[in-house]
Symmetry: C2
Subunit: 443 residues, 2 copies
């Protein structure tokens, strides 16, 4: 049984551990074995401490059943942009080689208190931007896993851990989740504290999860969330009993940038899903076509401020790509207030957008993962939702022309993470059924 444990969904594993069918040590050991078996190719981990992880697992096994946390014994990978007191945190940059933060980030502390085992740190691109780490795509080592949460997506996609944390400023959760064929959840902006995360862009940075199941992500978000006193309280149940989910399909203003073949596959999937949900086409407000550039501007200008010290004192240790990003930030300062104003204006239009639908289905990536030497892929389809602060969930189930994962995302109104998760749950199931059907037809 041990060998196939790391490939189980997070919700299953939570159940098995709770029932005592599997011990924390058994699961941790199985995950470490799975990691070791794939790591030469996958290169998903920046730091691993197997001994510490096993010691922690044995401690957890000794905790009486009544005192166990909601994530008791769950091994988790933490993106190396998030501080851990017991493991190095290098932010994907040689400037921070061997850096040991004094404290755990808020989310790490919460995971530990909930009984999770921090297995190690996963590879991030340089400062969670564009210069890639060494991680490969679990479905094809010649392709990128996406970024910036490269290692987290790849580790979960490879079935070596059931859970990893990532962050999204442009498309760093939804994009790699789509490329790696896993569930990636970016919650509502502000719902999860970013204390102890190396800031990229304070008006955009959002911590989220990689799992293979929506139920598992839901359990983790209950542990991570609730920090912002101003967050709207999620409804007890996402939908009144018996009410059907109202689903819209938003092609988004960047739809024409999706290759025709992928567009066809997404349209086809939506049609099939529509049989069950009555999906309606949703035309987004014209103003939304400005969100991609406004998001870029916010991100560029803010990251240029955040990395001012690194640039001034360690400029030679920044990648050329990052130096270009920061120079671009200098060049966009004049547009910063206008970008903020435009994003605010668009946020004000969200009530209308979600007036008749609970969730939107939208494309998440411009086709399958690109070749690894071309970078980490384009976040263009995620930028607007990140700027708007909506929850967004990458839902796997579609495949592209090369047989690799092709994403869609489920988006809900800010604060309605419950609906986004429920939508991802129901639509993910429907997409899987459909894929299954197609395979039958194809044979």
């Amino acid at each position: 049984m041990s060998a196939d444990l790391p490939g189980r969904t997070l919700a299953e594993l939570i159940g098995l551990l709770r029932a005592g069918t599997v011990s924390a040590s058994e699961l941790a050991s199985a995950c470490l074995d799975a990691v070791a078996a794939r790591e030469d190719d996958l290169r998903a981990w920046a730091h691993l401490d197997p001994d510490a992880a096993m010691a922690r697992a044995r401690e957890l096994d000794a905790v009486p059943a009544g005192e166990r946390g909601p994530l008791h014994g769950i091994p988790v990978g933490i993106k190396d942009i998030i501080d851990t007191a017991d493991l190095p945190t290098e932010y994907g940059s040689p400037i921070y080689a061997g850096h040991h933060p004094a404290e755990d980030a808020d989310v790490v502390a919460r995971l530990r208190r909930a009984g999770a085992i921090i297995l190690g740190k996963t590879v991030t691109t340089e400062f969670a931007l564009f210069h890639p780490g060494a991680t490969t795509n679990p479905h094809d080592p010649a392709r990128t896993p996406g970024g910036s949460s490269s290692g987290s997506a790849a580790a979960v996609g490879a079935g070596t851990v059931p859970l990893a944390l990532g962050t999204q400023t442009a498309g760093s959760i939804v994009r790699p989740a789509s490329y790696c064929g896993v569930v990636g959840v970016k919650p509502t902006f502000g719902r999860v504290s970013t204390r102890g995360v190396k800031a990229c862009s304070r008006s955009l940075d959002t911590i989220g999860t990689f799992t293979r199941d929506v139920d598992g992500a839901d359990a983790v978000l209950r542990v991570l969330g609730g920090v912002d006193a101003n967050d709207p309280e999620p409804a007890a149940g996402a939908l009144a009993a018996g009410r059907a989910l109202r689903v819209g399909f938003a092609r988004t203003p960047e739809w024409h940038e999706v290759p025709a073949d992928s567009r066809g596959r997404i349209e086809q999937a939506v049609q099939k899903v529509a049989a069950g949900f009555g999906v309606r086409d949703v035309e987004l407000p014209e103003a939304f076509s400005g969100l991609v550039e406004a998001q870029k501007c916010l991100m560029l200008v803010e990251v240029t401020r955040e990395l001012a010290d690194e640039r001034a004192h360690h400029g030679d240790q920044l990648s050329t790509r990052l130096q270009d990003v920061l120079a671009h930030g200098d060049r966009m300062t004049w547009a910063y207030e206008a970008a903020k104003a435009h994003v605010r204006h668009c946020r004000g239009l969200l009530d209308d957008v979600f007036g008749d639908v609970d969730v939107l289905l939208a494309p998440s990536v411009l086709g399958e993962a690109p070749p690894i030497d071309e970078g980490t892929g384009d976040p263009v389809l995620c930028r607007a939702w990140t700027a708007l602060g909506t929850p967004a969930v990458a839902v796997p189930g579609l495949t592209g022309p090369a047989g690799l994962p092709l994403g869609v995302q489920v988006v809900a109104a800010p604060g309605r993470d419950d609906l986004a998760l429920e939508g991802a749950r129901q639509l993910g199931r429907s997409l899987r059924d459909r894929e299954h059907l197609s395979s039958h037809v194809a044979r």
Copy 2:
């Protein structure tokens, strides 16, 4: 004598025609022969009407000496974005195939009144933007002549006509002039009327000249200019007798984008020039680093408005490149007012910039002309000056590593076209002397 006439400078030809040494017919005929000899390779012309040109030349030859205009008998190429009543004007777009404007543009009418002969229309990129025409570089047919005034720069660079008109919205005069090794003058914004020019961006579009000499350009600008009653009156003489030109060297915020080899050549040239002029380094205000993106924003948003009809009714006849430009325009609308404000702010800093110098020497192109299949080159080094509305003169004389022309530009304060021309005259002479010296040393 006839055969080498088209290669003479404009000022020389003006003198020869005035003295009666050469007739208008003789020169027109020689230019048409030169055009015919090069056109198979160069493809600089969109429309030619040799018979009409020769008929006009004969008319001019019959004008009594005392009644001749300042450009009597001078053959000129007109960029095909500028209206001519007697020749088709197609704006580089199939949408306007065979289009015959009802009237001459203001500049064309002025040239005719001054005695010039409109030899034909020169190739422009599509609507003076980025999709190239067929024109090649006169110094290497495998390279671009630059754009958007491709045909005008190439025709003058090839020595087939002494004068052609172009327009600049980003870098469409200075860039092709630098690539083709000719003098390109973009006057102060607003000095020359753009009536009868297909508008690209009304806050940036500027008509200017291609010649092989600064004196020739000066003569033409006296004919074209003076339309704007608000223009500051140029001083009778640019410099008080005996006062030396005060020259600054502005690397500009985009200096690092110039390839190292070209940077070296420019620095070396500046050092040599400095021996005669005491060139001082000028640090531009930090705010200027935002001008490139602000200029792009103004241009994108304005051209998207200008081409709204063509896009709505003939979208399938726009190049993919142009469709992308217009989509980008839609995405930048939110930043338009901020871009205008930033440009205004930077214009307000120009008094300081030109406080201690009459003119600035600045790079004009990112190295030699790129291969023709890579587009028309990057206007990045021209965008800021166009946004600021300063006069800018591309000065030939430097050569790059492949032996092809490498540009610099001479920039003056808005309204001081006289200083820009005087600077180009003096510095161009100095650069040529230096090149001559280098060749001697190299042998």
